[in-house]
């Protein structure tokens, strides 16, 4: 009797989840496979339908050897991600720590720091960038900026210039992360702090030895979130390039699919590397 009830329950559970399963198969799994299939083909759209021609790794080869724009954009994207993500994480942690103090108007500040999440769509950010308001006000007058601007070729200089020019946009991406950190900080056990205090730990030591290790999981979550959001933002140069190739006659859907798969793999590698490094470091601390 009981096992019958349990199996009935199982069926109902599956029934509840079934819309997602169907959706996953139809709108995600199948398209994923199909775009993988297309990426190995040259795709032509004719009046009678789509015609494909197998080209082996041709599309991939072209992406890495023939398409200089793509390689440029790819290195640019990786550079930008390497600077932006750590800045977003550290910045949002600092803001969360500040807000976690006994400050008045906490909810007001939270409202301010979350606001960009609401309004930051691609076109809005683009308008603001065109106006030059995403940089630190009147930065052009400083010597450092002029020095960097005089020689924008080097990787390091380029990165710094990007940072200066887009600082506000980078910071604008931190709204959700601040709230995640803040929620984690407020759930911390106060007794640990009291015990550490009795043992004579300073605030500085407590941050490094108590706070930071216990929010490591949140740092990982935030890093994943930041990388994903940064990668799918519509102003991202690679995304633009993929879209352009999609509707070009000589490249078309096949090549665009290959590009999007390369892009997907790079995001996955970036995620695996950062998350792997962080959880490895976190574990070695405890052992």
């Amino acid at each position: 009797m009981k096992s019958k009830l349990a199996s009935r329950n199982r069926m109902i559970g599956l029934l509840f989840v079934s819309p997602w399963i169907i959706g996953f198969l139809v709108f995600t799994a199948l398209p994923l496979l199909y775009s993988l299939y297309l990426s190995f083909h040259r795709v032509k759209i004719t009046t009678s339908g789509i015609r494909t021609e197998f080209v082996k790794f041709g599309n991939y080869q072209f992406a890495f050897t023939g398409d200089s724009i793509f390689m440029d954009r790819l290195t640019q994207y990786i550079e930008e991600m390497v600077i932006s993500v750590p800045i977003i994480i550290v910045f949002s942690l600092i803001i969360a720590l500040l807000l976690n103090q006994k400050v008045k108007f906490r909810s007001f500040f939270r409202t301010v720091f979350f606001l960009p999440v609401i309004i930051a769509s691609g076109p809005v950010i683009k308008e603001l960038m065109d106006q030059g308001v995403t940089t630190i006000p009147s930065i052009e007058q400083y010597a450092i900026y002029q020095m960097l601007n005089a020689n924008p070729e080097g990787i390091f200089n380029g990165m710094l210039l990007y940072l200066i020019k887009n600082l506000i946009v980078i910071l604008w991406f931190s709204g959700v992360q601040i709230l995640i950190f803040l929620a984690a900080l407020q759930k911390m056990d106060q007794q640990t702090y009291e015990a550490a205090k009795i043992d004579g730990a300073s605030n500085w030591e407590m941050f490094w030895k108590v706070t930071l290790p216990s929010i490591t999981p949140m740092i990982i979550v935030n890093t994943i979130y930041t990388i994903v959001m940064f990668s799918i933002f519509s102003l991202n140069p690679i995304i633009e390039h993929i879209q352009k190739n999609m509707f070009k006659v000589d490249t078309g859907f096949g090549y665009a699919s290959a590009l999007s798969w390369i892009y997907f793999l790079i995001i996955a590698i970036a995620l695996a590397l950062t998350v792997g490094a962080m959880s490895f470091k976190g574990k070695s601390k405890y052992s």
Partner: protein
């Protein structure tokens, strides 16, 4: 007499020191000043683009060209808004944007609730796999599935209609659907099992329990999901531009082609210098396009904050 005076002075000194530096380094005035200073400073940098937008949108051409006019325009100049309002075709576009954002948001919330309930309250084979796959869908960039979906929608003949957004959303594959499933999962896990059992003994079926017991307890989750989903669909321009083509438009999309539309509506070669597009008009357009979202945000902001708290990523 002399001694007490000195004592008094030392006492006073210690008190001052405590007040300024604090007992434990976190409650002195100096520390407070530092914290508020940082928060206000960073906060200012944060909303600086908004202030700039607001200021420039009210500037007439004279004010824009006058280097003495910095933040506060010399007069209340509304012409920019009039122009931007016309270029954006504001009210019809606003209604269309609401339609494009709200309906998929409703679908996404509904399916998030159903799936979250199934994952939170039932045990079945492969549940773990499904859970991992749900999380995995979050990191798949939409570009990868975009082309096959485009071909597929083209065959179904739903390109250019809202169905291109609505169908994936209704099956839990919309924008960031994984997050909404996670939020509802977290909510439904907290519903006490005893309540469900009591209802079962009274003869209620699973669907009645879902609608009459679980859903009412997850009202905050419903609001949170709807709002986040609404904002994300509102701001989506990349997919919208490809799926909708010219047949549906949204405020952000109109903003994207602001310059082109403006030049069409007010040709510059007529010799009228007043017809030229300037920053003031552009900023007015930008502000108009985010104004509805700003209003929604200021009314509902506590739900957004709670949404992150309640998503359970911080571990319960």
């Amino acid at each position: 007499m002399e001694k007490t005076k000195r004592q008094l002075f030392t006492n006073y000194y210690i008190k001052m020191k405590r007040m300024i530096l604090g007992m434990q380094g976190t409650d002195g005035i100096l520390f407070k000043l530092l914290i508020y200073g940082l928060l206000v400073g960073i906060g200012f940098v944060y909303i600086y683009p908004l202030i700039y937008m607001g200021s420039y949108s009210f500037k007439s051409l004279d004010d824009l060209l006058n280097p003495l006019v910095n933040w506060i325009p010399t007069q209340l100049y509304l012409e920019n808004y009039k122009r931007a309002y016309e270029v954006l075709n504001f009210i019809p576009t606003l209604l269309e944007t609401l339609y494009v954002a709200a309906i998929p948001a409703v679908a996404q919330t509904a399916v998030g609730a159903v799936v979250g309930y199934g994952l939170a309250r039932f045990d079945f084979k492969g549940k773990k796999v499904i859970f991992i796959l749900v999380l995995a869908t979050f990191i798949i960039p939409p570009q990868v599935t975009l082309i096959p979906r485009y071909i597929f929608f083209n065959e179904l003949n739903i390109l250019g209609s809202l169905n291109a957004f609505l169908l994936p959303a209704a099956f839990g594959q919309g924008l960031n659907s994984a997050i909404f499933i996670l939020i509802f999962y977290q909510f439904f896990r907290m519903v006490p099992k005893a309540l469900e059992e009591a209802a079962q003994i009274d003869g209620a079926g699973h669907f009645r329990i879902f609608f009459t017991i679980a859903l009412p307890m997850a009202v905050p989750g419903i609001i949170i999901s709807f709002l986040f989903s609404f904002v994300w669909y509102w701001n989506e321009t990349y997919l919208a531009a490809i799926y909708f083509g010219d047949s549906l438009t949204t405020l952000p999309l109109q903003l994207q082609k602001f310059v082109a539309t403006y030049q069409q509506m007010f040709p510059a070669e007529m010799g009228l210098s007043g017809n030229k597009l300037n920053e003031g008009i552009k900023m007015a357009g930008t502000l108009l396009s985010i104004l509805p979202l700003l209003i929604v945000y200021f009314i509902t902001q506590r739900w957004f904050v709670e949404g992150v708290d309640r998503s359970g990523i911080t571990g319960e």
